[in-house]
C-alpha cells in the first residue's frame, strides 16, 4: 500500500511539474481496459488477447513516474565568428530520470540554421553537436527547443522553446592584390606618394636652389656639373626634390537597397535562408569590400564605409585591425536592414576631401547613377563596381520574362555608359585593384 501511495504522490508531483498524458496514454488505458473488459463481459478470449499488450505496456510505462521538468542548456559561444570556422557545442540535458526520450532541436552537421528535432535516448544527458559557419551574416544557429517523453511516450513535458543563440558570422577576407591609391593632399604620413614635394623617399625633380630650401637638399654632384657647364663653379646650386608620403583615404559606398541574383523570377521574393541572397549582388559587394578593405588597411590606408541605403550605418575612415573588424561588423549590419530605402544618399560630408570612392551597386535605377556622378565632383577618384550577376535568367513563369530581361539589361547598359561618359570608370569586383593601378600610372 505504501508503494501505491508513493507512486500516486510521484504522479501528482509530475503533474505539477508539467507532465501530461498523450493520446497514446488514452489509447493504452482506454483501448486496453476496454478490450479486456469487453472480452471478459462477452466471454471472448480473443478480445482479451488483443487488448492485453496495450494494457500491460501502459501499466509498465506508468509504473515509473517522471520527475522534475527537463532543463536543456547549451554551452556559451562567442558572439562573432569567422566564416569557415567551426566549433563543438556541449548541450546538457538535466532531469531526474524516468525520461525515456528527449526530442531536442539541434543543428545538422554541415547544414545552416537551428536544425531539425532529434529524438534521442533520455539516458544521454551530455550531448555534443558540431557547428560550422559557412556563410557570413547574422542569425540564430542554435535554439535547443526540447520535449521530454516518459516511457512509450505516454507522458510528455513540453515542448519548450529553447534560448536562442545569435551569432554574427563576419564576411570572409579573400586576398586580392591591393593597388596603389591617389594620395591625400592633407596627409603627412602613410605609404602613398603625394603629388607635393616633401620628405619622402621617391625622387620628384631637380631644380635650382631657391630661398627657403634646406641646404642638405642640395645635390652637389648636379650643382658642380651645372657650374662646369656655365664656367662658374658653385654659381647655381641645385636641389633634389622628393615626393611627400601621405596616407590614402578609400571609402566604399555599398548600395544595400537591392539584393538580386541571376534568376529574375526570384527578385521579388526574399531569400529563404537569411537576409542575403547567396551569390547575389549584395553578397558579391560585401565580399569584395571586406577583401579590399583588408588589403588596403594592411598597407596603411584609411578605409571607410558608406551605406547608400542607410547613411547612419556608415563608418568614417580609419586604420588598423580594429577598423577592419568594425567594417566587417558594419557590413553585416548594413545587410540586416537592406532593401528598405528607395533613394541612395551619398553626400559630400560622408566622403573626406581627396578620398577615393568605390561605389558597389547593381545599378538597377537612375538614382544611384545620379548620386555617383554628383559624388564624382568632390572626389579625387571614383570607381563604379558593377555587381549585377552575370547571365541573368528570365522568369519562365511569365510570357514577358524574356522581354523584361532584355529591357532591364538595356537600361543597365545605358546607365553604365552614362557613368563612363562622365569619367567614372566602371569595373567588375575583381578589377578594382587593377583600375586603381591604371589610375596611378595615368597620373605619373
Amino acid at each position: 500500500m505504501n508503494r501505491v501511495l508513493a507512486w500516486a504522490t510521484a504522479r501528482r508531483a509530475a503533474g505539477r511539474a508539467g507532465w501530461r498524458g498523450t493520446d497514446a496514454l488514452l489509447r493504452g488505458a482506454l483501448g486496453g481496459l476496454g478490450l479486456v473488459g469487453a472480452g471478459v463481459a462477452l466471454h471472448r478470449v480473443d478480445l482479451v488477447v488483443i487488448g492485453l499488450p496495450l494494457l500491460v505496456s501502459t501499466v509498465l510505462a506508468l509504473s515509473v513516474p517522471p520527475g522534475k521538468p527537463v532543463r536543456v542548456t547549451a554551452q556559451k559561444l562567442p558572439r562573432s565568428v569567422e566564416a569557415g570556422d567551426s566549433a563543438r557545442v556541449a548541450i546538457t540535458v538535466d532531469h531526474d530520470g524516468g525520461v525515456e526520450f528527449t526530442a531536442v532541436r539541434l543543428p545538422l552537421p554541415g547544414r545552416p540554421g537551428v536544425g531539425p528535432v532529434h529524438l534521442l535516448p533520455g539516458a544521454d544527458r551530455e550531448l555534443r553537436t558540431h557547428l560550422r559557419w559557412n556563410t557570413w551574416g547574422e542569425g540564430v544557429d542554435l535554439r535547443p527547443d526540447h520535449l521530454a517523453g516518459g516511457r512509450d511516450g505516454l507522458l510528455i513535458s513540453g515542448p519548450v522553446v529553447g534560448v536562442e543563440s545569435r551569432r554574427t558570422v563576419l564576411p570572409p577576407l579573400a586576398p586580392p592584390p591591393a593597388g596603389p591609391l591617389p594620395a591625400r593632399l592633407t596627409g603627412v604620413v602613410g605609404a602613398h606618394r603625394s603629388p607635393r614635394s616633401g620628405d619622402g623617399a621617391e625622387p620628384r625633380a631637380v631644380r635650382p636652389f631657391r630661398p627657403g630650401d634646406r641646404v642638405r637638399r642640395i645635390d652637389w654632384r648636379v650643382s658642380l656639373r651645372a657650374g662646369a657647364a656655365t664656367g662658374e663653379a658653385l654659381g647655381s646650386p641645385h636641389v633634389r626634390e622628393r615626393h611627400a608620403e601621405a596616407d590614402a583615404d578609400l571609402v566604399f559606398a555599398l548600395d544595400s537597397r537591392a539584393d538580386v541574383g541571376p534568376d529574375l523570377g526570384s527578385w521579388s521574393t526574399a531569400e529563404p535562408g537569411g537576409p542575403v541572397r547567396r551569390g547575389g549582388s549584395l553578397d558579391t559587394a560585401v565580399r569584395a569590400i571586406a577583401a579590399l578593405a583588408a588589403a588596403h588597411l594592411r598597407q596603411g590606408d584609411r578605409v571607410g564605409l558608406v551605406d547608400l541605403g542607410r547613411p547612419q550605418l556608415g563608418v568614417p575612415p580609419g586604420v588598423g585591425r580594429r577598423q577592419l573588424l568594425r567594417l566587417r561588423h558594419q557590413l553585416v549590419a548594413c545587410t540586416r536592414s537592406a532593401g528598405w530605402s528607395p533613394r541612395p544618399v551619398l553626400r559630400p560630408g560622408q566622403v573626406p576631401a581627396g578620398a577615393a570612392v568605390v561605389v558597389l551597386s547593381p545599378f538597377l535605377d537612375d538614382a544611384v547613377v545620379d548620386a555617383a556622378i554628383r559624388a564624382r565632383g568632390h572626389t579625387r577618384l571614383l570607381l563604379a563596381v558593377d555587381v549585377l550577376p552575370a547571365g541573368l535568367v528570365a522568369d519562365p513563369e511569365t510570357p514577358w520574362g524574356g522581354a523584361v530581361r532584355r529591357v532591364l539589361l538595356a537600361e543597365h547598359r545605358v546607365r553604365l555608359a552614362a557613368l563612363r561618359a562622365r569619367g567614372v570608370a566602371v569595373v567588375p569586383p575583381e578589377g578594382v585593384a587593377a583600375a586603381l593601378a591604371r589610375h596611378r600610372r595615368g597620373r605619373r
Partner: protein
Amino acid sequence: MTDVGAGISARWLPVAVALAGAGVVADLWWQGAAVGPLVVAGALAAAAALVPASPAPLLLLLVAAAVTTALGDDPLRPAVLVLVPLGHAVHLGAALGALLPRGARLHPAALGPPLRRAAAVQVGVFAAVGVLALLPAGRTPPVLEVAALLSVAGVAVLVLVLDRSR
C-alpha cells in the same frame, strides 16, 4: 558525452505505422472480412500513419478487434495471434511518431528501451496465451465472472482516480 549525428529520417516511424496498419488490414482480409470493414480499416490505418496523435490508431485497433471477434470462434487462431504484435506496433509507432514534428531526425538508440519492453510484453502475452491454450474450454462459474468484471472495473476506477489526482 554523446555526439549527435544526423540520425535517420523520422519518416520511418509513419512508415512503420503504415506497415503495421497494412498488416492489420491484410489480417482482416485473410479472415474473410467484407469490403466495408476493410475500407474503414484501411482508411484508419492511413490516418494513423499520417496523423498519429489522433483517435485513428485506437479506432483501428477497436475495428480490427470487433471484426476479428465477429469472424471466428476460435479465440487462439493464428489470425488473432497475428493481431497481437501488429496492434502493439501500431500503438507504439503512433505514440513515438506523435512526439516529433515534420523533418525530425530519429536516432536508433532512442528506440532501444521501448522496443525491449515491447518484446518483453509480447513474450508475456504469448506466455499467457500458451497457458490459456492449456486451460479447459467451457463456461466459467458465474461467481468468478462477476469477480473478474469487478476487478477490471476496479482497475479502471483506480486509473481514473490516479490520473485525475495528477
